[in-house]
């Protein structure tokens, strides 16, 4: 199965976050990766238990690059990891 991770938006400021082994991170590289349907379901259940901290968790498909980094398959999700393509001074890409 394709690799999957869980993403959501943070309740307080709405920024994009990813489920990690012990919480949430703004960096996709910190995400905990699922390799099976059961694992994804378990991660989603964990994410939904955090409904007081995050909004709308869902799974996305990612690919692992040769250097070990994770990249979303869909461009929409790539944009979420970076920020608007037309304002590279804004969002995570600006950091």
């Amino acid at each position: 199965m394709a690799l999957e991770i869980i993403t959501a938006n943070r309740l307080g400021d709405g920024l994009v976050i990813f489920l990690t082994t012990d919480g949430w991170s703004a960096r996709i590289g910190d995400a905990v990766v699922s390799e099976s349907r059961d694992e994804t379901a378990a991660l989603l259940a964990r994410a939904e238990a955090d409904a007081g901290l995050v909004v709308g968790p869902y799974e996305i498909t990612v690919e692992r690059q040769a250097d070990g980094s994770l990249h979303p398959v869909k461009y929409r999700e790539t944009l979420r990891t970076r920020g608007p393509s037309v304002r590279t001074d804004l969002g995570y890409q600006a950091a």
Binding site: L11, A51, V86
Partner: protein, 551 residues
């Protein structure tokens, strides 16, 4: 402009405090997201791709300089230094924090603004001709009627949970700049047989996945009957509009399915019962609202300013800006100055906090403190003395707001698209940027002349692509951004839905395709013939052949 009375102020302030409480209950965990979501949406707070987005209502596109300064302050203090003016004459902030939103709304309330009616299945913020009260071709100022509609529709208990959202647009002029025929209800101020001003009523227009031009429902409605008639129209829709399918829930589907005649009959029957009830507008109330829109203290000036004419003669850049951005005013010696938010390569509709502050200052100096937002995502100073236009133009240049391209190929309408919007299927802004850069040469831009090019990043059509002379719709094709072209749309009094010209184009081919269409137009047009006139004369064939070859 209209100033809040105690009732208006109380309503808005109460709503701010109510929302403050709701936000704190969401943060404390007392409310789930499922419970909270409809509450935040009723206050204009969406969750988009990167963050929350707050959509602030600009009632019928009218802003005072004080309000504009407040928007600048919100952009600076609570957001990332800019705002985005939308195709519904509103403004969106792209990075507000949930915790700070009640403070933003409290600040807006200080200047009689809010984010009510910018989301949800209610009667949305009414839109109007951005030249209201200024246009030379205007019968009467439509803002009077927009304000009456605002007061009736805000928190209307019967119409808070309609089958779908509901949009009303009003124009008082011969040229329709408010696109009334693609609204759920379109209202045109007209003169009755006895010379009194009343309304022509249209219904069932709309864009989205099923674009339709509105049908005329009533030839003439007396002013006093406006609200009772609208109430009857909404009631019939609320009762018979479909709730089983979100995509078939707009009034356009109802009017289309039962036919305009059946819809009209149902409305007239409903109206007969309520016409002389509580909603009949007393003349006294109309005149109270009318007073709020008393024209500013215009000076008595010559129709032609020799100083202005001389400046145009001396300065080619100024003459070019006047030719594209300035429109005729109803008062001698005055002009309407359009401020383009579409610099070549820029993001359509975006303005920085500094630019908003500058526009507020220019409005105070040269336009009686009044600013307008156009649905084309531009700003307007409605009442500028011709003699002041040169100084205004120089000042606009100092803040990069002097693009001379209103109504040209550079004046592209574009929704935020996938760069911001969680519904989008493709990006819109980069396509707009590439096209405006490709056609940045002003000689060429002005030679091409009057044309509209509208881009939407999904089928919901916030970028009004169906009614662009050239429309571009971004879609997702197996994970790639792909762009469909429509030709022949019009949003004015000759409203028309564009037709798809053929197969779509990849993102690296769409700009060339647009250039091919434009070059074809230039090669086949007759003297003085606009793009749309050429297209209507020749049909799609020459453009299709140029794009796809002769098969």
């Amino acid at each position: 402009m209209y100033v809040y009375d105690e009732l208006d102020r109380g309503l808005v302030n109460e709503r701010v405090e109510e929302f403050r409480d709701q936000v704190s209950r969401r943060i404390s965990g007392e409310l789930t997201e499922e419970q909270f979501r409809p509450l935040r949406l009723m206050n204009g707070l969406y969750l988009q791709l990167h963050a929350y987005m707050l959509r602030v209502a600009v009632p019928y596109g009218v802003l005072s300089s004080t309000q504009m300064r407040k928007l600048a302050r919100i952009a600076r203090v609570y957001d990332r230094g800019y705002g985005h003016f939308t195709t519904r004459q509103n403004i969106q902030f792209n990075w507000p924090k949930l915790e700070e939103t009640p403070d933003i709304l409290a600040e807006l309330a200080e200047v009689e603004m809010h984010a009510i009616q910018t989301s949800g299945n209610c009667i949305r913020n009414t839109t109007a001709d951005q030249f209201a009260g200024a246009a030379a071709d205007e019968l009467e100022d439509p803002r009077i009627w927009c304000e009456i509609i605002r007061q009736w529709s805000t928190f209307h208990p019967e119409f808070t949970f309609l089958p779908r959202k509901f949009k009303i647009a009003v124009t008082g002029a011969v040229s329709d700049r408010a696109a009334i025929k693609v609204h759920d209800i379109g209202i045109v101020l007209v003169q009755g047989a006895d010379g009194e001003v009343g309304f022509e009523i249209w219904a069932g227009g709309g864009l989205g996945r099923t674009p339709m031009i509105a049908k005329k429902i009533r030839e003439f409605l007396l002013a006093a009957d406006l609200l009772s008639y609208l109430e009857a129209m909404l009631r019939v829709y609320n009762r018979f509009g479909r709730r089983d399918n979100k995509y078939k829930a707009r009034i356009k589907i109802l009017v289309h399915e039962i036919g305009a005649d059946a819809y009209r009959d149902a409305v007239e029957a409903e109206w007969a019962d309520i016409r002389d009830g509580a909603l009949a507008l007393p003349a006294q109330e109309i005149s109270r609202i009318r007073k709020a829109f008393t024209p500013p203290a215009f000076e008595v000036l010559d129709a032609v300013s020799t100083a202005f004419e001389a400046r145009k003669f001396e300065d080619r850049g100024f003459a070019r800006w006047v030719a594209s951005n300035v429109r005729r005013h109803k008062v001698a010696g005055y002009a309407i100055a359009n401020i383009s938010l579409k610099p070549a390569g820029g993001i359509p509709g975006d303005a920085t906090a500094e630019q908003m502050d500058a526009v507020a200052e220019y409005a105070d100096r040269w336009s009686f403190g009044e600013v307008r937002v156009a649905h084309e995502q531009n700003l307007v100073l409605p009442h500028v003395r011709q003699d002041d236009l040169y100084d205004l133009w120089l000042a606009l240049g100092s803040v990069e707001l002097d693009a001379p391209n209103i109504g040209t190929l550079g004046d592209i309408i574009a929704c935020p698209g996938m760069d911001y919007c969680s519904l989008a299927t493709a990006r819109s802004i980069p396509v707009a940027q590439q096209i405006s850069e490709r056609f940045a040469d002003l000689e060429r831009l002005h030679d091409i002349g009057s044309i509209s090019l509208n881009i939407s990043g999904c089928i919901n059509a916030c970028g009004h692509h169906h009614v662009g002379n050239i429309g571009i719709l971004g879609v997702d094709k197996k994970g790639e951004e792909f762009y469909q072209i429509t030709l022949g749309g019009q949003a004015d009094e000759n409203a028309a839905i564009g037709r798809i010209i053929g197969p779509g184009f990849a993102s690296d081919a769409i700009v060339d395709a647009i250039e091919t269409i434009i070059e074809t137009y230039l090669s086949v047009r007759q003297d003085g013939e606009s793009f749309i006139a050429t297209l209507n004369r020749l049909g799609q064939t020459p453009f299709k052949e140029a794009l796809y070859g002769t098969a």
